[in-house]
């Protein structure tokens, strides 16, 4: 299929989405459902725009973004460092591996009540939980990537007499780059989810708490606006990381 055809189909799919939004509008106006439950897209859009321009939505969005990104960056750095340490040592992998595997199936949000018990309902608690949750995919990915180096490259490093640290920095970690980036992308998704849940639980200033409040107050237009924003954050952050990944992994077969 040519590029032109592909673009046309894509435009068509955008048109389909517009149609669905139109359908939403129609149902909202004529479907007999009270606007409290289903505001039309026009109302949601208005709420979004006015909220962003002057209202609280902009502030809470920024708060959420800041929290999400801080937690994620912290988690990713720690995850790579720890993962490199564990992954590069066979002993560490043997002793710690099974424990890591045991913790893996536990839903990350289940740790939230635990951390609340320690840190109470505070902003710190949310950040800690975000970091704890987001570190996981990066850590596991790094361990995997660092421990699975092509045997030829291991031999090459022996032939060149590279020290342990040089081997880790020049060969094992770059080798793990694809895995680490994929793990970081997953970590960002986790980070967003935990940010939202954390804000809801602790009533911290942010989009999570905002949508909860607006929902309780039956301000459905604002609620929908907030949800749209959260979706947008998820989308944009994922796309940004994918673009970064593509650039950084130019050298890869994938």
């Amino acid at each position: 299929m040519s590029g032109l055809e592909r673009s046309l189909w894509y435009l068509g799919s955008i048109a389909v989405t517009a149609l669905l939004v139109g359908l939403w509008q129609f149902v909202a106006d004529h479907g007999g459902i009270p606007p409290v439950f289903l505001p039309g897209p026009d109302k949601a859009w208005d709420a979004l725009m006015s909220g962003l321009a002057s209202g609280p939505i902009a502030k809470v969005t920024l708060a959420t973004l800041r929290r999400m990104i801080y937690g994620w960056v912290l988690a990713s750095l720690a995850g790579v460092a720890l993962g490199a340490l564990i992954g590069s040592s066979r002993q560490a992998r043997d002793y710690l591996g099974p424990t890591l595997e045991m913790i893996r199936p536990v839903p990350v949000s289940a740790f939230m009540p635990i951390v609340i018990a320690f840190l109470g309902l505070s902003g710190d608690m949310v950040l800690v939980v975000i970091a704890l949750g987001a570190i996981w995919p990066v850590l596991l990915a790094t361990v995997h990537g660092v421990s699975a180096v092509e045997p030829r490259l291991v031999e090459l490093s022996r032939m060149l007499k590279l020290g342990r640290l040089a081997m880790l920095w020049k060969i094992a970690l770059p080798n793990a780059q694809p895995d680490i980036l994929a793990g970081a992308r997953l970590g960002l998704t986790v980070s967003l989810v935990l940010t939202v849940v954390g804000e809801m639980l602790t009533s911290q200033n942010g989009l999570g708490y905002y949508v909860l409040l607006e929902g309780r107050a039956f301000h459905s237009a604002n609620l929908f606006a907030g949800v749209i924003l959260l979706g947008a954050i998820g989308l944009v952050s994922n796309l940004a990381l994918q673009a970064a990944e593509a650039r950084l992994l130019r050298w890869s077969r994938r």
């Binding site: 068509g12 955008i14 199936p105 289940a110 849940v197 909860l212 959260l230």
Partner: protein
Amino acid sequence: MKTLKGALFPVVVLLLWEIGMRASGIQSDSLAPPSQIAVAFYEALFDGTVLDRTAQTLFVVICGLGIGGGLALVFSVLMGLVPAFARLMQFSIEVLRPVPPVALIPVAMLIFGFGFPMEITLCAFACFWPVAIYGHAAIANIEPQLLDVSRVLRLSPVARVFKIVLPAALPRYFVGFRLSAAVSLIIAVTVEITINPLGVGFELMKASQSLHPDRMFAMLLWIGVIGGGLNWALLFAQRRLFGRAGLAAAR
């Protein structure tokens, strides 16, 4: 030898934890010695709490999986067999997929209030995506010759779907279902922790807020067991249903 090594770390941690707490005599609202946690778990088991709550959460997980997975099945078959449909839906999917299900909690609350329907809806939304995507990939990658066979045999479209397309795509679908099941559990527990007063997540939160750390950790461990158990059971089913060939096809 390897399993011994692996078991060493957690055992040592547990021992230090137990001894540390007992020896120092600390009374904490957030931490409890492992022995106490075990006792709390057995108590909760025998007074029915664990079973009740587990049943509630599993009910939600299964319903969510059924509804979301079922819808995704139909959707992905359509996408796979009618490429035009897949192309036209692309943008809508790209827009809807990144919405975190937890962001929809207030929406579900608004419509359904507390209780089962709200949680099941959110799980269904989350379960939809892995099955839809794996399913679409499964159908798009069906051996073309199988489709030719169906044409030669002049099967009706419905028969084609049920006799050839679905069976061929089944192994990959199952992998999607497994993933959805894990996601469903995560969403269910998360919703229960955040706001919904039912299930194991709620029990966990209750224990935390009422300052019963032993019960809290017991529930945490139990949730881990459920997660691991669910995954193991599905892996077992996958191996039994599809065997070696199925696992290979599921790649």
